[in-house]
């Protein structure tokens, strides 16, 4: 397997990360712009949560990850510590799969 694509991904990934901090660095942003930027991660995180729970490649699937997400939501709502939320979700999926549920 060639190195060029691996290194190309490294360079592109860095440039994308640096666009904001390096090009827009040090400039004052208006309160309206800040309000919008504060919201940016929310829809992306929400999309990551649902797509990583409900899809395999380009297929929508319901499997052990969905009940695991429900357990995680319950734990977050009950204000459980971060690690408990993560391990609780992992244990739910692992347990359901051990019981033979593959969705």
């Amino acid at each position: 397997m060639s190195w060029w694509a691996v290194l190309a991904l490294c360079v592109i990934a860095y440039l994308l990360k640096a666009v904001g901090p390096v090009l827009a660095g040090g400039r004052e942003l208006g309160p309206r712009m800040r309000g919008v930027l504060d919201l940016v991660p929310v829809p992306l995180l929400a999309a990551l949560i649902l797509t990583q729970s409900l899809s395999t490649g380009r297929h929508l699937v319901i499997d052990a990850r969905l009940p695991a997400l429900a357990v995680a939501a319950l734990l977050v709502w009950r204000r459980a510590p971060f690690l408990i939320v993560v391990l609780g979700a992992g244990a739910t999926a692992a347990g359901l799969r051990a019981l033979g549920w593959s969705g």
């Binding site: 397997m1 060029w4 694509a5 691996v6 290194l7 190309a8 991904l9 490294c10 592109i12 990934a13 860095y14 994308l16 990360k17 904001g20 901090p21 390096v22 660095g25 942003l29 800040r34 309000g35 919008v36 930027l37 504060d38 919201l39 940016v40 991660p41 929310v42 829809p43 992306l44 995180l45 929400a46 999309a47 990551l48 949560i49 797509t51 990583q52 409900l54 899809s55 490649g57 380009r58 297929h59 929508l60 052990a64 990850r65 695991a68 997400l69 357990v71 995680a72 939501a73 977050v76 971060f82 690690l83 939320v85 993560v86 609780g88 979700a89 992992g90 739910t92 999926a93 051990a98």
Partner: protein
């Protein structure tokens, strides 16, 4: 929602909590990194390439997308597409973090490498700018160390570890993102942005290449901002 007890907790408690959360997400990332190392080696990358990718690319979803295409029989160029698309959300994260990052250009260039899902979510869940920068640094250090340690272990273990799904590793990431997103839902317009972004992404999963749905979810900002402005009036 915060209770009276939360409001009265001391700053020290809060700082401890940030350190604990940074360590917690680092460990979760490390566990997942082991599976990345294993899958990457079985997909055809060498252990050296796998470790370099984790150190320099340092954005997990893109790395998984890359080796996923390779494992499915795609070439290096085909693998780059979804990986770059997934990485492009870091550009949005970088913009949202700009107000809290250090002002010196050299410091910003270093900090840029660590602009990822976990550091952004941890930083944005803080109310004060200096707490946000501290949360960013702690999470960056924790995630980078555990991500690369886990990758190395996985790459060396190779395929001997079995199927990572047996251990529910794939269910841990959505749970981690949920725990990180929850405090941010208090911002005006955030619930609307979250729901519309997530629904749009799910609808697009069967229709677009891998990586596009998460980026398209940015459109959830529009109803989110409209809802926030409507509430302010």
């Amino acid at each position: 929602m915060p209770s009276i007890a939360d409001v009265s907790t001391t700053t020290l408690d809060h700082r401890d909590k940030v350190s604990r959360n940074a360590l917690g997400i680092g460990i979760a990332v490390g566990v997942y990194a082991v599976s990345f190392g294993v899958l990457s080696v079985t997909a055809g990358l060498s252990p050296a390439q796998t470790c370099v990718m984790s150190m320099l690319t340092f954005t997990g979803a893109s790395q998984f997308a890359y080796i996923g295409v390779l494992a499915g029989g795609g070439g290096a160029l085909a693998a780059l597409g979804p990986a770059v698309l997934l990485a492009s959300r870091n550009a949005a994260y970088g913009l949202s973090l700009t107000p809290i990052l250090p002002t010196r250009l050299r410091d910003r260039m270093v900090a840029s490498q660590f602009v990822i899902d976990e550091t952004t979510a941890m930083a944005r869940s803080q109310d004060e700018p200096e707490d946000a920068l501290r949360a960013f640094k702690l999470t960056a250090a924790s995630v980078w160390i555990f991500w690369n340690l886990g990758t190395l272990i996985g790459a060396v273990l190779g395929s001997g570890i079995g199927n990572p799904q047996t251990y529910g590793l794939d269910a841990m990431f959505p749970a981690a993102f949920l725990a990180l997103m929850a405090p941010q839902l208090r911002r005006p317009g955030a619930p609307v942005a979250a729901i519309s972004g997530a629904l749009l992404a799910v609808i697009l999963v069967p229709l677009t290449p891998v990586g596009v749905p998460v980026i398209a979810a940015l459109a959830g900002l529009v109803p989110g901002v409209l809802a926030a402005n409507g509430r302010r009036r």
